[in-house]
């Protein structure tokens, strides 16, 4: 666990001085409270001896000082610790991003399943709690605790000992015991909640079918069962979770009673001035503020470390695709590209996505790659952009192995309009600009026209400045695909790879689109990957891809 924490601190990249400042301010807040109560207790006790009022001046000044200093310390502590948290969040995002960037897409494939990616982002977000809620409280407790104990011991060593014991039990034993007790029940709770939420998601997403088959009532009954199970478990978990806070209050009382007992005894034996009894009792009571957040901090730490481990699991992956040490310069068009007897696999042990496949793209030629779903068509596009390396065989660009070029050079020569291409939550214009940041409105219009979507874009009230929504949700499947296509057309790359651009279109539109794309790509090499026959007659060459044999 400590190794993970240390690595997470590196990722969040916070300077020690900042953390130390926040912790020091936190400790001061508590110590000013301790000082306030202690001095006030002394003031009252001393006053009870009816001295001249002047002799109380020092104590009165002390009370006033602590009374004003504590809110100030608290205020600056909160600012300092939130600043640390925000800094760490920003750094964590950027650093994690830098680590996963070279992994996409092949080595992040597994995170697309379910919604692991959004969990990953949530995990990165939760790293901001590392300082604020997990590491700072124990640090504060340590400083404030030691100082309070030292102060008490200065007046009466026995009282210091009792207070030290109480703080240790309340600050370490209680949180550890509480979290051990609640750990199993909260794990069971999390499992039951996961099961229920899976069923809920399924019910809501498949709700139309359940209703169509008249099964709503059955389903609700089954949900009710899973739900009441969760309620039972969460009630049991509550019994364990409340334990920490309750025990801490108990320990506080025992400690205050203990400090009072040794003080009374010491006074009876003449070892302690009577004006110090109230001081010691009230000081001890105030010192427990230091250990109060520790139960929660430990719980928080466990959760953050678990999240951090999941993040590290991803950032630890070594990129399989790397630039060569001595890259050769990018070729100048025209050039040919070829796949030679290629076998490719996404993960060792999985069956190959492509096996024994060869393909040659002569410059300026229009080639259709035809094949059923699952035959590895998309893998061809990934091989060409070097998002995956062949396990056997070679990819050849202008006569040289693709691996000898810089990745960025390869990708600026070969543009792909993929089926899984992402539309960012921004305007149509912004999404297109990704293909060519310097494109003029005229370029945009030409690309949109070739993708057969210009009229629609112009019919929108905001035109190309219309926002497409998260993952392009505001657009239909066909519209999304055509924006993606226009983006690839904009790049000006000499080789265009179009992966299933016609999937959501009716036959007439599909055919017209292929025609336009071939026309727009004149002078460029175009590879059209599809499982549909439209456009086959327009190609210079047709290659048929069959499913790789199961070995």
């Amino acid at each position: 666990m400590t190794a993970t924490i240390r690595r997470l601190m590196l990722i969040t990249d916070v300077r020690w001085t900042r953390l130390a400042l926040a912790a020091l301010l936190g400790a001061l807040t508590i110590l000013f409270g301790v000082g306030l109560m202690g001095t006030a207790g002394y003031l009252i006790s001393r006053a009870a001896e009816h001295p001249a009022v002047l002799s109380l001046t020092a104590a009165i000044v002390g009370v006033r000082f602590f009374g004003l200093a504590r809110p100030l310390a608290r205020y600056f502590e909160r600012l300092a610790s939130h600043d640390v948290a925000l800094r760490s969040l920003g750094r964590a995002r950027a650093q994690v991003y830098e680590a996963v960037e070279p992994l996409a897409p092949a080595q992040l494939e597994d995170t697309r399943r379910g919604d692991l990616l959004s969990r990953f982002v949530g995990d990165v977000d939760s790293l901001q709690n590392l300082y604020l809620r997990s590491l700072e409280p124990p640090l504060v407790a340590l400083i404030a605790g030691v100082a309070s104990v030292a102060l008490a011991a200065l007046f009466l060593p026995a009282a210091g000992l009792v207070l030290a014991l109480g703080l240790l039990v309340g600050g370490i034993a209680v949180p550890v015991a509480a979290s051990t007790v609640s750990r199993r029940s909260s794990e069971r709770h999390a499992r039951a909640r996961g099961a229920l939420s899976a069923e809920l998601v399924e019910t809501l997403s498949g709700g139309a079918e359940l209703a169509a088959f008249g099964l709503e009532r059955d389903r609700i009954r089954s949900l009710r069962r899973a739900d009441s199970r969760l309620v039972r478990i969460s009630r049991r978990a509550a019994l364990a979770d409340g334990l920490g806070d309750g025990l801490r209050v108990l320990v506080t009382g025992a400690t205050v009673a203990g400090v009072l007992a040794v003080s009374v005894q010491a006074h009876a034996e003449g070892r302690l001035d009577r004006v110090l009894i109230a001081l010691l009792a009230l000081l001890s009571l105030a010192a427990f503020e230091a250990v109060q957040p520790l139960t929660e901090a430990l719980r928080e730490l466990r959760a953050t470390v678990a999240a951090g481990e999941r993040v590290l699991d991803l950032t630890d992956r070594a990129p399989r695709i790397v630039d060569p040490a001595l890259p050769i310069p990018a070729p100048v068009a025209p050039f040919a590209i070829a796949l030679e007897d290629v076998r490719a696999r996404y993960a060792p042990g999985e069956r190959p996505a492509l096996d024994g496949f060869s393909l040659r793209l002569e410059p300026g030629k229009r080639v259709v790659l035809l094949g059923p779903s699952g035959a590895g068509k998309t893998t061809v596009a990934r091989l060409l952009q070097r998002f995956i390396d062949p396990e056997r065989g070679r990819v050849i660009l202008a006569g040289k192995d693709l691996r000898r070029y810089r990745q960025e050079d390869v990708r600026s020569l070969i543009a792909v309009a993929g089926q899984d291409a992402h539309l960012f939550s921004a305007s149509i214009r912004d999404n297109l600009a990704l293909g060519n940041p310097g494109a003029t409105d005229g370029d945009l219009a030409r690309a949109l026209r070739s993708a057969r979507i210009l009229d629609w874009v112009l019919s929108l009230p905001d035109g190309p400045d219309t926002l497409v929504g998260e993952e392009g949700r505001e657009l239909s499947g066909g519209q999304r695909q055509r924006i993606v296509l226009a983006r690839a057309l904009l790049t000006g790359a000499p080789v265009l790879v179009l992966d299933e651009p016609t999937a959501n279109l009716d036959p007439a539109t599909a055919k017209a689109l292929v025609q336009d794309v071939f026309a727009a790509g004149r002078g460029r090499t175009v590879l059209l990957i599809t499982h549909r026959p439209e456009g086959v007659d327009l190609a210079d060459e047709v290659v048929i891809l069959r499913e790789p044999r199961v070995t």
């Binding site: 006053a47 998601v201 399924e202 169509a212 779903s373």
Partner: protein, 557 residues
């Protein structure tokens, strides 16, 4: 500050029970706070005037006991709150799902169904914090200060007056929290969520970014955005944290003033030592619950936001009206769309604009048309997931909008474009069409649907687990399972929504054969945008501009 959401209280009986329990626990806590203060003061005062440890041992034991009692109460608050939270949440959750299934089973889009599920599930933490921490604190923040003031007034009215001197700071605090914290916190929370979604968007789009050589520059962009967010947030925090500082100041100032004035009065002999000490121990307790309340405020705001969203979803108006009439079977009467128009609330323009369409018993009608022409909407109307905006769908003279949806749906079988495969065995999934189906009839249906062969090839055959966490099925396999559902249901009207879309030739051919077997003796609505299937239809209707046109297929191509 919203102390308590009225709807939450009204809706849920456990909340009222919890409030009563919290009040009892809160009163007991307040009592113990007073007992504790009196005991500490008494022990110190006795020792001050020379008592030995033996003399105060009984009081010391009582003091420890009082703290133990407070510990138990703290624990009781948490347990009671969490119990109430889980019950309330469970009720809301089931109400929400039940309502969605009854009135709006077809989410208008996938994102929406995801959001509803997230609300129903993630509500847990938020509401737990609200019930287990915030609500008890509200009770304590009222009861404890009153009890403290009550006792101080009784034993030393001057000190009570001094305590009240700091009270004007409380409205200042309330004003600050109302003016800044609530609104700004909300803004900040929204900004944070926006940042988080932006990060998710970038990570999701990584392959695309890299494909265009725009991957690396994003790290710097993220850094810049994070830094900008930090700066603006720290700006608002500087003001927002003032509210906490003011409350803290009230507390420490209260203690300091009480100590100083009591000290001076003690010195001139007008106040007793034990009384002064009791008041001093009580002074911080006056503000402590209020300060803790401010700390719990944020957690509760999240909880309330979730509850709010659940209420909104539950109260959403239903897109279909119920009805009492019983529509006749499509075996005996034709189904007529009469000038049906329909528009989705979220999209501009009419999807269907005066559509006329007849379906006759024992006839297969193919509905073709370009994407986005409203073909799937026709299916939704027929299934009564939505009702026409104008015009009507009549079955044997009865307006479908006035009929009972559950009885009508018994007459239907539906194979959607993307069938849901539920968690369970393949047999369970086929049985959705008819929960009482025997093993034999499940298998017969699978044979007719062209699914039997691939199912038999699986190691566990019909007992293979599929759905979330089970064996993944390809699009073609899912489609065949859905067709088997339709066969086993044996309904007089079958709706097939693009049964061969996205399938390669072999799978498409298997599905087409199954469709051919399914149509005999039934009324079938076949939605398609590809030619292969249309040859199985008796009649082809072209949907264009929201209107149906009778066409022969050659013309369509």
């Amino acid at each position: 500050m919203h102390v308590l959401d009225q709807r939450l209280v009204r809706r849920a009986r456990p909340v009222r029970r919890l409030l009563a329990l919290d009040t009892v626990l809160g009163a007991l806590s307040a009592g113990l706070v007073l007992v504790q203060a009196v005991l500490i003061a008494r022990i110190v005062a006795s020792a001050f005037s020379g008592a030995s440890l033996g003399d105060v041992s009984a009081d010391l034991a009582l003091l420890a006991l009082a703290f133990a009692g407070r510990g138990v109460l703290t624990w009781g608050f948490e347990v009671a709150g969490r119990r109430a939270a889980s019950t309330v949440l469970s009720e809301l959750r089931l109400e929400l799902v039940e309502r969605r299934l009854r009135t709006q089973p077809l989410a208008l889009d996938r994102a929406e169904s995801g959001e509803v599920a997230a609300t129903a599930v993630q509500g847990v933490e938020g509401l737990e914090a609200y019930f287990a921490r915030y609500l008890p604190q509200v009770v304590l923040a009222i009861v404890v200060p009153l009890a403290v003031l009550g006792l101080v007034v009784a034993i030393d009215p001057i000190s009570a007056g001094v305590m009240l001197l700091t009270l004007p700071l409380v409205p200042v605090f309330m004003w600050l929290i109302g003016r800044y914290t609530e609104e700004r916190t909300r803004e900040r929370w929204l900004a944070l969520r926006l940042l988080s979604t932006h990060f998710l968007d970038v990570v999701r789009g990584l392959p695309t970014l890299r494909s265009f050589n725009r991957g690396r520059e994003q790290a710097a962009v993220l850094d810049r955005i994070g830094e900008r967010y930090r700066r603006t947030t720290m700006g608002t925090l500087r003001v927002a944290f003032l509210s906490g500082a003011v409350l803290e100041l009230a507390a420490t100032l209260g203690v300091a003033l009480v100590a100083v004035t009591a000290g001076v009065r003690l010195a001139d002999g007008s106040l007793g030592f034990q009384t002064a000490l009791t008041v001093l121990v009580l002074a911080p307790e006056l503000y402590l619950p209020l300060r803790q309340l401010a700390a719990q405020f944020h957690a509760s705001a999240d909880g309330l936001a979730v509850a709010e969203r659940m209420f909104e979803l539950i109260d959403e108006p239903a897109p279909t009206a119920g009805g009492k009439l019983v529509a006749p079977s499509p075996l005996d009467a034709p189904v007529r769309f009469e000038a049906v128009s329909f528009a989705y609330p979220s999209r501009p323009g009419l999807v269907l604009d005066g559509l006329d369409l007849e379906l006759y018993p024992d006839e297969t009608v193919a509905l073709v048309g370009p994407s986005g022409s409203g073909k799937t909407t026709v299916a939704s109307l027929l299934l009564r997931f939505v009702d026409p905006g104008s015009g009507r769908i009549a079955v044997g003279g009865i307006d479908l909008a006035h009929s009972r949806p559950d009885l009508w749906r018994e007459q239907l079988a539906w194979v959607p474009q993307r069938p849901t495969i539920f968690r369970g065995t393949i047999a369970d999934n086929i049985r959705l069409g008819d929960p009482g189906a025997t093993v034999r009839s499940v298998r017969d249906a699978a044979v007719l649907a062209g699914a039997d062969r691939f199912v038999q090839a699986l190691p566990f055959g019909y007992e293979t687990l599929v759905g979330d966490g089970g064996r993944p099925l390809s699009a073609g396999e899912s489609r065949r399972i859905a067709l088997a559902r339709a066969f086993v249901r044996n309904a007089p009207l079958v709706i097939l929504d693009e049964p061969t879309a996205d399938l390669d030739r072999t799978s498409a051919a298997v599905v087409a054969e199954a469709v051919e077997r399914l149509r005999s003796g039934r009324m079938v609505l076949l939605i398609a945008h590809r030619p292969e299937l249309v040859e199985h239809a008796d009649r082809v209707v072209l949907l264009e501009d929201g209107k149906g046109r009778k066409r022969v297929w050659d013309e369509v191509v």
